[in-house]
């Protein structure tokens, strides 16, 4: 870590020894439009896909928590995509999302008359990120498992008491379930954020080393990789790594700090 901080202050191409340049790398970074773009892409992806994944995962868990037959089988089915390695799932979705009539998703949507023209998916800058977010939802089963565990730990007496008081389903959900689930929300949110901020494999497979189309899939991790191992700008890339790290730190601290206000721990009541 310390080493990387040092490198981030140098110009180092691995041929000649590192030359100290101070904060020059950082200054260059923030003047580099492609870096600013990668920050934007990464942030949009995180801000959209994390809450979306949380909500959908919770919805799925709520449905599964209804004691319908075959719950275990459904749970396995929804979890299965999570274990598929990113490299395989990216290739698969790239194929399913082919931008012409040969793509199965386009075929289905056109047969259902939801769209008239084939959708561009990963080949058009305006739709690539949306497609990736959609693809990421396939893996929401991981969060779902944890939601399910959280739901099952809510004491049943509370619901019974609420029912005696005449509280409806929606009210029970917002007044009992959700407050008691806040630690789970917190856990899923932090792990989800750390994961999405570091997304790499998907962008490399879907968009190549430049994060095509036109940088729409150029995430910070990919930016760092490209500058370190394609252009051998080790110092510059280290600086970008530090910016990413500070980003993650800042967001995590923000979430932790705000968690005092909204996360409810059962053990805390007496305090």
């Amino acid at each position: 870590m310390i080493l990387s901080l040092y490198y981030s202050l140098t110009k180092y191409d691995m041929l000649s020894p590192p030359a100290f340049v101070g904060t020059q790398n950082y200054a260059n970074l923030f003047q580099d439009p492609s870096f600013l773009n990668s920050i934007e892409v990464t942030l949009i992806y995180t801000v959209v896909s994390v809450p979306l994944g949380l909500i959908c995962g919770l919805g799925l868990a709520l449905l599964l928590n209804q004691k319908v037959p075959g719950m275990r089988i459904f749970r396995t089915i929804f979890y299965l995509p999570v274990i598929v390695p990113a490299i395989a799932s990216s290739e698969l979705w790239l194929d399913m999302f082919s931008p012409n009539q040969y793509g199965i998703v386009n075929t289905i949507l056109m047969n259902l008359h939801i769209i008239n023209q084939p959708y561009a998916f990963f080949t058009e800058p305006s739709t690539a990120l949306i497609s990736l977010i959609y693809m990421s939802l396939w893996g929401m089963g991981g969060g779902m498992l944890i939601w399910l565990a959280g739901l099952q730990s809510v004491p049943l007496e509370l619901y019974e008491a609420a029912k005696v008081d005449g509280a409806g389903r929606a009210r029970q959900f917002f007044r009992i379930t959700l407050p008691l689930l806040t630690p789970t929300i917190f856990f899923n949110m932090v792990t989800g954020m750390i994961g999405t901020l570091q997304i790499f494999v998907q962008s490399l497979v879907l968009g190549g080393v430049d994060g095509n189309p036109l940088g729409a899939l150029d995430f910070i991790s990919l930016f760092i990789y490209r500058h370190a191992f394609s252009y051998f700008q080790m110092g510059f890339a280290s600086a970008a790594g530090w910016v990413l790290f500070l980003f993650i730190m800042l967001l995590t601290i923000l979430v932790f700090w705000s968690s005092r206000k909204w996360v409810y721990y059962e053990g805390d009541v007496q305090r």
Binding site: M1, L3, M14, L62, Y79, I87, D95, L145
Partner: protein, 297 residues
């Protein structure tokens, strides 16, 4: 149960779970919704297998072929022989085995240290270890790469295996630590009185009681190592030493002429088989363990 005279009220109150026993209709609708969702989740799996078994002509004609008229099992053979995949498979297996054993062994030792042994600054060290969870892999990647280069380890598997032997990752240590905290100390104290050494206690008391957690760590490490491409593309440039995952990444560019994407799909299917089989073998432990890790926070 609250004693209520009115029969209608009693019925509602005795419901076991909050949203559980609505009318039959409600359950039926939920079941249907779940079925539709399950079909959507499973569809990509269906599609990858179906397209892996199609002929090039079926792949390239409209309307799309949903099911091949005759399953082309030969596709798997052609795909497998396009690149030396047997070698890549062996390479990957070597790396996965090496790093998994390393991660399980060293994470268990570290967690044991944090959970049971008393030493200076134990809590602080534990938090420092945990905070490395936030370190992006891409940040440490560069200095680690330069160190590996100085060691002359480029184009070898050491960079992909050896780091796992140093602690096995913060998440694994944390997970095992939580499990070890749940083991009653009395057993160990009794063993200590009988003169058992720390090493012996570790192997005869701790390890047997955290087997499910060890399975989770092994699974997680193996899965990450099997699917890793960042590590291999940085360190392994020699085409003979490529890993399976790395080869898949370059595979679309080395397609033999006259073949379509069914070969890509076929290779991806082969790549997924060990993962899916492993998951079903370990399923019970994994699902429980993942849930436990989430709730314990």
């Amino acid at each position: 149960m609250i004693d209520v005279a009115e029969p209608g009220l009693r019925k509602t109150i005795s419901r076991r779970t909050p949203f559980a026993t609505g009318g039959k209709l409600r359950k039926g609708i939920i079941f249907l919704v779940l079925c539709v969702l399950a079909a959507m989740f499973l569809f990509p799996f269906f599609w990858i297998v179906s397209s892996a078994l199609q002929t090039t002509q079926e792949q390239q004609s409209l309307p799309l072929t949903w099911l091949p008229t005759k399953a082309q099992w030969n596709n798997f053979q052609v795909a497998w022989n396009t690149l030396p995949f047997t070698r890549y498979l062996l390479n990957s297996m070597l790396i996965v085995t090496g790093s998994t054993i390393g991660a399980v062994a060293s994470a268990a030792w570290c967690a044991y240290g944090f959970a049971r042994l008393r030493f200076m600054g134990r809590t602080v060290w534990f938090y420092i270890t945990l905070s490395t969870l936030m370190l992006p892999g891409t940040l440490t990647m560069i200095p680690v790469y330069l160190i590996m280069k100085d060691l002359g380890w480029l184009n070898t598997y050491y960079p992909l295996i050896v780091p796992a032997w140093f602690g096995g990752g913060a998440y694994n240590i944390f997970l095992l630590h939580q499990f070890m905290k749940g083991i009653p100390v009395e057993l160990e104290e009794a063993a200590k009185i009988d003169g058992a050494s720390i090493v012996r206690i570790f192997f005869q008391i701790i390890v047997p009681s955290i087997k499910p957690a060890l399975a989770i760590v092994a699974w997680g490490t193996a899965l990450a190592s099997w699917g890793d491409i960042l590590g291999p593309i940085i360190y392994i440039t020699d085409a003979n030493k490529w890993t399976f995952a790395q080869a898949i990444q370059v595979f679309p560019g080395s397609m033999p002429s006259g073949w379509g994407s069914q070969l890509e799909m076929a290779i991806a299917v082969v790549f997924m088989i060990p993962v899916v089989v492993g998951f079903f073998l370990l399923q019970r432990w994994l699902i429980e363990g993942i849930q436990l890790a989430g709730v314990n926070r």
